[in-house]
Amino acid sequence: MHYLLSRLGQAATVLLVAFTAAFLLLQAMPADALMIRFESPELGLSPDQIAELRIAYGVDAPLHVQYWHSLSGVLRGDLGYSIESGTAVSTILADALPRTLTLAGLSLVLAVLVAFAIAFAASLSRFTWLRSALRAAPSLFVSVPVFWLGIVLIQIFSFRLGWVPVINPGPVEGLILPVLTLAVPISAPLAQVLVRSMDAVSLQPFVVVTRAKGASELWTQWHAVLRNAVLPTMTMAGVLFGELIAGAVVTETVFARAGIGRITEQAVRTQDIPVLQGVVLMAAAVFVAINLTVDLLYPRVDPRLRGKVAATR
């Protein structure tokens, strides 16, 4: 119980510091940049209207009041309003989320399958050349820029082979290339860690003992190596989430798909700070939640940690 509480506290601290940093950076912007847009003559707002807006946005309030206002807003799910469109940031994100979740979810599943297939084949294959080729593949793929990969895939599968239309594809067809593009930067580091960790576990004495009991290579890998090798990859969950976000920004831009990534890209282009801030806070919250889950789940998977957690309870 104590462990759980302290971990929750730690997670909350990280989020609070992240929020505070974001808030302070916004304040550091020259001459409340938020308001510059409203003062633009194109909108034709009168000085009185601008003054009202200043009060509505709380721009002139003392710093700590603005901080509390903004913090309580975030806690209620209110992330402010887009400068560009005036829409609530929470609404923008909520609208874009399902499409990005579909893309990211499918890519993640594909990536995990590919990574395990590579790692398993690299350890089990009879052919030395295939083993070394499979080992080299992930380090090649981490070196490939995602934007370029997407373009090359379009070039090959849409223009050369004509398998997948680029103009007005169906909902399923439209997902094929983006999912492929996004799966690569996820699967490569995962496969790297998995291969490395399977190699390390294979040298452990208990694996030798299993072999000395007459176990076949398949049995050894499956029963003795795999579960121990998967443990370190669990700690990668947070990092992979970051890769998913970065990949989504690029992939959605390349394939012109609507989603969180596209919104992020446009927010930076138009300097729409509240929107980017919303995306960043949401991402940080998800990252912290993922790591918290992994930390709490880890002792379930690795019995050696159970005693440790219990001892601090």
Partner: protein
């Protein structure tokens, strides 16, 4: 952030009780000459990735020697011609030589990556070394800040810096550098902590050395290899990240021959001129792959 990095056998002493094991003499399978041979072998492995990096650095320093064609001014008469003996990478829509643009663009990618890695290395390692050497409170404060940096996906962190600083080559490089601070800080701290726990550091204190003597003689020299390996890795990652920012249009403005930007500009001619996107991208892959290989080799020699 997570406690999982410290996976040493939990409370081994407490749970094992009597009959716990002592270490058995380590076994040597191969005679000592094998280590020397392995070093020689890995030197050979440096050659190809090293050659790629040397070539790209030469491009950056002396672009005119490798590519005499003008990277900015084009010749409309030869617009969109495919790769040939005259134009190795073909030409773009305004008739500019793509190979020449790639060669002249290398300075942007390399100097940007260098700046990014320097920012990350200097700021990150300093934070990490302080956290690893100073007391618990300083350690906690620094590592919580690092946790926050780690909690934000690195591209989003870079974008946050860019939205504050504006677009441009320098801004993009700084943005990428800031995003790598946390990785350097965490590694430097864990290396310092690892070395600090070693017998030879205790022996050094035991022979009367002061903290700063131990830091200078033992802790820093023994921590650097891993940090350097990360720097090489981050160099590749930075080139990747800078080209991504360039592709998204947040880096150098046109008509700068920045690699990512060139790929972005080539997108309009996907169906007709494959070389505009494919070849600059391949150069990025080759450079990043080489940097990663060298990082892996440094790490293995440790």
């Amino acid at each position: 952030m997570s406690n999982l990095q410290t996976l040493d056998p939990p409370a081994a002493a407490a749970t094992e009780g009597p009959g716990a094991a002592r270490s058995v003499p380590a076994r040597r399978r191969l005679p000592r000459t094998a280590g020397r041979a392995r070093r020689r072998n890995s030197r050979a492995a440096f050659i190809l990735p090293g050659a790629v990096l040397v070539l790209v650095v030469a491009w950056a320093l002396l672009p005119g020697v490798f590519a005499p064609a003008d990277p900015i001014a084009g010749n409309a008469a030869v617009a969109l011609s495919p790769p040939s003996a005259e134009h190795w990478f073909g030409t773009d829509a305004t008739g500019r030589d793509v190979f020449s643009r790639v060669v002249h663009g290398s300075i942007h990618s390399l100097s940007g990556a260098l700046l990014a890695v320097t920012v990350g290395l200097v700021v990150g390692s300093t934070l990490g070394i302080i956290a690893g050497s100073a007391g618990r409170i300083v350690d906690d404060v620094i590592m919580r800040v690092v946790d926050v940096l780690l909690a934000i996906p690195s591209l989003l962190l870079s974008l946050s810096v860019i939205i504050l600083l504006g677009f441009g080559t320098l801004q993009a490089a700084l943005a990428v550098g800031v995003a790598s601070i946390a990785a350097f800080a965490r590694l430097a701290r864990s290396e310092v902590v690892r070395v600090r726990r070693s017998d030879y550091v205790e022996a050094a204190f035991g022979s009367g050395a002061t903290f700063f003597q131990v830091l200078r003689r033992h802790i820093l020299p023994n921590s650097t290899t891993a940090v350097l390996a990360l720097a090489a890795l981050q160099f590749g990652t930075a080139i990747l990240a800078i080209s991504t920012l360039g592709f998204l249009g947040y880096g150098a403005p046109p008509p700068t021959p920045e690699w990512g930007l060139m790929v972005a500009e080539g997108r309009d001619y996907l169906a007709t001129a494959w070389w505009l996107t494919t070849l600059p991208g391949l150069v990025v892959v080759a450079v990043v792959l080489s940097a990663n290989r060298i990082s892996a080799l440094i790490g293995r020699n440790q």
